[in-house]
């Protein structure tokens, strides 16, 4: 069979140089019967060449590209979070500062539980911006930013729980499970019109979702953008495998990932809503110092006088804290959970980061195996492969009649079993030898499919 492949390649090169099929076939008398139809097919494939694009099409594409470049330039100047135009925002800030001075923090407190689309929401976001504006310590600024991103996540779950339709934008960690996308625990549905990045969407990627919440309990994405890797985003909670049975038609409360105690994005949001108290905030970090009733974590000084402490709290411990900002802007911790110690410093830190994603970590090692398992999504908690297997690929490919089989282990056998079969019948057994090569590349392709699913 290899001989036939070689003969074909030599024949193709000869045709390119103008040799006639007949004289090529004559060079391989023993292969002639098989070679001739293949070479004829190659002429037909060559005859399909595409025309050059029309000048008009060139112009259109060029304009579209330069337009996009202009948008990106603008976006570079204005940070991502700014939805309200700068001047308007400044005016609001000024007004707010005045109000703040006159009436204390009443308005701001009242806005704390505002959601997108509500009148006080602007106040809330402006207040956040002001707080960021007046913090000069880089570390504190970062942790405050993370806190606000958490708040975005929380707002989205609130909106979903209430089944409201609002345009939202939030950042989070992407998780792909069984053909479904979750961003920090929020179900995100990719539509045909959704703008996606060029690269495959991988588990664990930091993304920004722009879209609309709906009454079915998920976010319809308008666009999904990758953030540079390493960007700090709210983790939310990992989606467990048992969410597989949910369907978009489920009631919102079911569609929402199972609440865990203390998870901000989960169930306790409604309490805040009803009670009107400040929102709960959760963060993880290493204890820097403990002094009496205060503790420094991630550069932020917090009060632990009222905290329920679980575990051995000491400097260097990695802890998860929950709490809220009181009216004076102090962070009051209600609960501290020690989730590790920092004897191994950096390593430990990274471990704690992945604790919430145990499954992923386990599976990360076994990429190939998982993949070999084929379509088996339940193994897929982890890295690339679940994206491969779990994405929309299989079905779609099935529809096409071909590529589905790429997901399987011994590719080409299967491949031949698919849409191709008849074509390949003559070659099947022989070509198996070459298939080990194909496997790898097949896998790549699958990966890529995810772009659009």
């Amino acid at each position: 069979m290899n001989k036939l492949y070689e003969a074909l390649e030599e024949g193709l090169q000869a045709i390119e140089q103008g040799t006639a099929i007949d004289s090529i076939v004559a060079r391989y008398p023993d292969l002639a019967d098989e070679l001739r139809p293949i070479l004829e097919a190659s002429s037909r494939a060559r005859a399909l060449t595409a025309p050059d694009p029309s000048p008009e099409a060139m112009r259109r594409g060029r304009a579209k590209l330069l337009q996009r470049a202009a948008e990106l330039r603008e976006a570079k100047i204005a940070p991502r979070r700014r939805v309200i135009p700068g001047i308007q925002r400044f005016a609001i800030s000024f007004l707010l500062a005045a109000l703040f001075l006159l009436s204390g923090t009443g308005l701001v407190n009242a806005s704390a539980s505002a959601l997108p689309g509500e009148s006080l929401y602007t106040v809330k976001r402006t207040w956040e911006d002001m707080r960021l504006f007046f913090i000069f310590d880089q570390k504190q600024r970062e942790s405050l930013k993370v806190e606000f991103e958490n708040e975005r996540l929380h707002e989205v779950s609130e909106l979903l729980a209430e089944g409201r339709h609002e345009t939202i934008q939030f950042a989070g960690e992407l998780q792909v499970l069984k053909d479904r996308y979750y961003v920090s625990g929020i179900r995100v549905v990719i539509l045909d019109s959704t703008k996606l990045p060029a690269e495959p969407l991988q588990n664990g990627a930091a993304v920004v979702v722009t879209g609309r919440t709906n009454a079915e309990g998920f976010v319809e994405a308008q666009s999904l953008k990758l953030l540079p890797s390493g960007t700090l985003v709210p983790e939310g909670k990992p989606v467990e495998m048992d969410t597989e049975d949910e369907s978009p038609a489920d009631s919102p409360s079911e569609t929402e990932p199972t609440p865990e105690p203390g998870d901000d994005a989960g169930g306790d949001g409604s309490d805040n809503q009803d009670g009107g108290e400040s929102d709960k905030i959760e963060m993880e970090g290493t204890v820097e110092t403990i002094t009496g009733d205060t503790l420094v974590i991630n550069g932020l000084t917090v009060s632990i006088a009222q905290a329920q402490i679980i575990g051995d709290l000491k400097p260097g411990a990695i802890i998860k804290i929950q709490g809220y900002y009181d009216a004076n802007g102090n962070f009051i911790v209600t609960r501290i959970e020690v989730i590790g110690s920092n004897s191994g410093d950096e390593n430990q830190n990274s471990n704690s980061g992945s604790n919430s994603n145990d499954d992923n970590t386990n599976d990360g090692g076994g990429d190939e195996n998982t993949n070999d398992g084929g379509d088996d999504n339940s193994n897929d908690g982890g890295g690339d492969d679940n994206t491969n297997g779990g994405g929309g690929d299989d079905n779609t490919n099935d529809g096409g009649g071909d590529d589905n089989t790429n997901d399987g282990g011994g590719d080409d056998n299967t491949n031949d079993g698919g849409g191709d079969d008849n074509t390949n019948d003559g070659n099947d057994n022989d070509s198996n030898d070459n298939d080990s090569n194909d496997n790898n590349s097949n896998d790549n392709d699958n990966n890529d499919n995810d772009n659009g699913s």
């Binding site: 004829e40 097919a41 694009p53 590529d403 074509t423 090569n437």
Partner: protein, 182 residues
């Protein structure tokens, strides 16, 4: 032209330098367009998808995820993904059976119109191939890439491509034959 040097072109893309963006576009657009056209046989789609590929390149360069060296390779493989995305969406809707939609071609046809009909028939046969088979034919016969170039675009070794192109052509021949001799 600046775009001849991929590295410098990428720097320009990252800085959103309109001149560089225009140069990269001018240099590669036709190639990307022809690739997509070959795969989908649809002018409007080819225009849309090809120009979209360049928008993606711009966005990728912005977030630092752009190709480090081979710009053309990146563009073609992104185009290939975009084609697959398109096909996947299309396949969500039921597809016409090939035998019903294909014209019955009589023997020995020579007029230009018939030539076009015949091309249409080859296109329909082509559409029945796996995306990998389509890809290899598009690269080798649509783009006119060498075996080695094709292999590097498909991230395969040359032997795998030899086998793949053989099977792709065999499949194409069979699909065409099914119509011809029915």
């Amino acid at each position: 032209m600046i775009a001849h040097n991929d590295r410098r072109a990428l720097d320009g893309l990252q800085q959103l330098d309109s001149q560089v963006i225009g140069a990269v576009y001018d240099q590669y657009f036709s190639e990307v367009y022809r690739y997509v056209f070959y795969r989908l046989s649809d002018q409007t789609l080819a225009e849309d998808i090809a120009s979209d590929v360049f928008v993606r390149l711009l966005e990728a360069a912005q977030s630092g995820r752009a190709p480090q060296t081979n710009l053309k390779g990146w563009l073609i493989s992104t185009a290939s993904h975009a084609v697959m995305d398109h096909l996947r969406r299309k396949y969500r809707r039921p597809v016409e059976a090939i035998s019903e939609s294909m014209p019955d071609l009589g023997p020995a046809i020579h007029t230009e119109l018939d030539q076009r009909e015949q091309n249409r028939c080859v296109q329909q046969a082509y559409a029945q191939l796996t995306s990998e088979q389509q890809d290899v034919l598009a690269l080798r016969f649509g783009q006119g890439y060498s075996l080695e170039e094709t292999a590097s675009h498909m991230k395969k070794n040359v032997n795998a491509v030899k086998a793949l192109q053989f099977r792709a052509l065999a499949a194409l021949q069979r699909q065409i034959g099914e119509v011809d001799y029915e």
